[in-house]
Each structure stands twice: as structure tokens, then as C-alpha cells.
Amino acid sequence: MIDKRVNTAHEAVADVFDGATIMIGGFGEAGSPIELLHALIDQGASDLTIVSNNTGSGEVGLAALIKAGRVSKAVCSYPRTANSTVFTELYRNGQIKLELVPQGTLAERIRCGGAGVPAFYTATAVGTPLAEGKELREFEGKQYVMERGLRADFTIIKARMADVHGNLLYNKTARNFGPIMATAAETTIVQVESVVEAGEIDPETIVTPGIFVDRVVQVAQPAHESELVAAGATYP
């Protein structure tokens, strides 16, 4: 009997340690695991390195984690968005580091981290500041830059539905980084709206096989970041 459920978001993130690297799913608000992020704020781990496409908006979810001073470094492709001021302020004050990575390179680095591939070559960013200091190499007359696989201690993502084995289905463009981040961490933690028994999800349609998932916590009605921000919500 396999059952990867844990009872609460707080239980799910209880062992996150100071200095940990955490991959955080989401593109804008789509797929952002707000309730797990709030549990992480309560839990208290600090000096975190986060790997995420954006840095949240308003003062909830990922932005609240950053505002609480828990994040020392962000590995991101686009660390600013509408209603995003928290990161900007800390960055300008030198209170948070940024490793800027092109979005597709970030995605492939994460996939390679999960796939046991330590490095790969891409034409993306050749000749730009984001290739500075990186190794260049020519294949068939074209220049490529070597990029490294990326792994984390924890991955925190949101999906739509899980079964007790941790098999996952997502919702529309909230899928984004979830399936690859799930593969690239020592411990993968997922919040889902519903959990079903093994066999209730058609095995042809599973997006993330449960082998990549360690803990599933049900959050039946997750908050929408844009609604919280519009309402002026803050956390904690």
C-alpha cells in the first residue's frame, strides 16, 4: 500500500532546512503553490536559494517569502512582473542575489538536473551578457554555450489532482515548470485540489508519474494570487 499523503501543508514542509535550495513551480500566478509557500513562511527556514520563473507579486505567496527575508538568492528568468515590488526593493538594496537565466535554459537545466545529465549545449544567449564566463563550443559551424544541470533539495509545486501514488494531473497553463521541477529535487512536495485512489486516473493521461513525487497535501480550494493581491492581502 503506497500512500504519499500528508495531512497539512505545515507537515509537508516541516523538514526544509536553512540554506536549502528550493524549486518553486508557477509562471506568474498560474501554478504558484501559495498555501505551501505560506506554510514555509510559518516554518521559518531561511537563507534559501529559490529557483522559479518569477518572484511573485504583491505581498503573498512567493513575494511574501522574499519579503520575510528568507531568500538569499533567486535563480530566475523574469524576477519582476505587474505588482511586483518586493524583489526589486531587496535587490536594489543588495539584500538578495540574482542569477538570471533565459527561460528555456532554465527549463532545460532543471530537466537535465532530473535526468542525470550534468551539462548540455544551447545556442541560447551566445554573444549576450548571460553567456559571459561560460564555456563556448562550436558544433557544425555554430556556436553554443555549455549550461549545467540544476538540482534542488526541495521542489514545491501545485497540481490539480493526485492519486495516492503521487501521479499528477495539472490545470491548463499552471502545468508550466511543475513536471520538470518534480524530477529535479531530493524531495518533491505537491499541493493538489483533490486526491484519489490508485487507478482512478487513466494511466495514459498522467503528466507526472508518482515516482517523482514524495509528498501530496490536499488544498481543496487554493487561493488565487491575483485575487489576494487585488484585495491587498499580506502574509503572514
Binding site: 509562471f27 528555456g104 541560447t124 554573444g127 551578457p129 502545468r175
Partner: protein, 227 residues
């Protein structure tokens, strides 16, 4: 016409409409944020284009009707969109397989500067206090088969955006194929910028005056080359 007369030639909508004419039926297209997004409005009805958004959807449709949207169905600009019949969702690594692997036919982007060799700068002004943010721009220009830039011919201050070499940080080397501005349609050729079409009421010398690199006039050969 002076270098400050930015409204000369085509309006934003007219630029988008002009570009839309050139996209073949059935192409897979990624439209950047801003003027590029307008292109979708002007695609002739006898053509079907399929829109890709790098956050995991191919077959993207227009904005939803009021109250019908899903905050988890958005485009790369993080605005709510819809999915057309035949759409598919996928994760970010697969999305950039499409981009990096050369499967998207066309990407339309804005620009800060385009150099005469096709270098593009469109992600950063390089100012020390700017928060760096690149998104998928570098992947798109490196991977998509054709890169069209759509932009005003000059900055609001009248500075040329088409230049001998870019002074802003680059997005990609030698990646731009064609530029649609308010004043002209310009190809990036082995010999530099070549004007293939002037906007109505615009003369060649007006375009040259507002361009920071030499222009060749290839209107004849471009027309002759058309089937």
C-alpha cells in the same frame, strides 16, 4: 517630415496588419508582448495561424469574455487567454523544445535596437539600477525559424533603433530576418539593411534620415523575387 514626427507612415495597427499579410497559412507563431500581440487581430480570414505561448500552450486563442477566464490559463504576458480547438498543453521543457528545436515558424518581437547584421537588443537597457529580466527572449531569437521585429522606427526621443551596431546588451547575434516599422519594411540582408517597401507617403530619404546605418533600396529585387 522630421525625426520627431513619430506618427509618420503606418500606425501601430497598420504595422501589425502589414506584417500579418506576410505570414503564410498554417504557420506556428509566437507573438511577443506589446505591438507584436496586435498582429493576431489582422490575420486574413482565409489563413489559420496557430499561436504558441512559451508558458505551455499551443493553439492559444483571444482573451476570454468577461468573467469566463481562468487565472491558470494565461499567456507569456500573464494575461488571461483561451484555448482554440486543437490546442495542447505541455510543460516548460517541452515548450522550449518547440522553440529551441526550430519547430516554431515565426516569432514577432519588439526591439530596443536592431543592428545591420541582424543583432537584436530587446531585453535590457543596461542601466545599473534596472532589475534584469530576460524571460524567453533569448531562447526565441536563438531557436525560432524566422524572427520579425515590429517597432517604431525611432525612440520617443527620435534616436534611431536601426543601427550599425547595438549599444544595449544583446538578446542574440545575427538573428533578425525582417523589420516592420512605421516607415518601412526592411530586410536584414548579407549587405545590411535593405528597404523592401516604404509605408504610404514615406520616401526613401526619410527612412534613411531616421536610420543609424546605411540602407539599400531593394524594392525592385524584392518585388521581382515574389512568386
Amino acid at each position: 517630415m522630421t525625426s520627431n514626427d513619430l506618427k509618420a507612415g503606418r500606425s501601430r495597427d497598420e504595422m501589425a496588419a502589414r506584417l500579418a499579410q506576410d505570414i503564410p497559412n498554417g504557420w506556428y507563431v509566437n507573438l511577443g508582448i506589446g505591438i507584436p500581440e496586435l498582429v493576431a487581430k489582422f490575420v486574413p480570414e482565409d489563413k489559420t495561424l496557430i499561436y504558441h505561448t512559451e508558458n505551455g500552450l499551443i493553439g492559444m486563442g483571444p482573451s476570454p469574455a468577461a468573467g469566463q477566464g481562468d487565472p491558470e490559463l494565461i499567456n507569456a504576458g500573464k494575461r488571461q487567454v483561451t484555448a482554440m480547438p486543437g490546442a495542447a498543453y505541455f510543460h516548460h521543457a517541452d515548450s522550449f523544445v518547440m522553440i529551441r528545436g526550430g519547430h516554431i515558424d515565426l516569432c514577432v518581437l519588439g526591439a530596443l535596437q536592431v543592428a545591420q547584421n541582424g543583432d537584436l537588443a530587446n531585453w535590457s537597457t543596461g542601466q545599473p539600477d534596472a532589475i534584469p529580466a530576460v524571460g524567453g527572449a533569448m531562447d526565441l531569437v536563438a531557436g525560432v525559424k524566422s524572427i520579425y521585429v515590429i517597432t517604431q522606427h525611432t525612440t520617443k526621443q527620435g534616436e534611431p533603433k536601426l543601427v550599425e551596431s547595438c549599444t544595449y546588451p544583446l538578446t542574440g547575434l545575427g538573428v533578425v530576418n525582417r523589420i516592420y516599422t512605421n516607415l518601412a519594411v526592411i530586410d536584414v540582408t548579407p549587405g545590411g539593411f535593405g528597404v523592401t517597401e516604404l509605408s504610404p507617403g514615406v520616401e526613401f530619404k526619410d527612412v534613411q534620415n531616421q536610420t543609424g546605418a546605411p540602407l539599400s533600396d531593394i524594392r525592385e529585387s524584392a518585388t521581382a523575387g515574389k512568386k
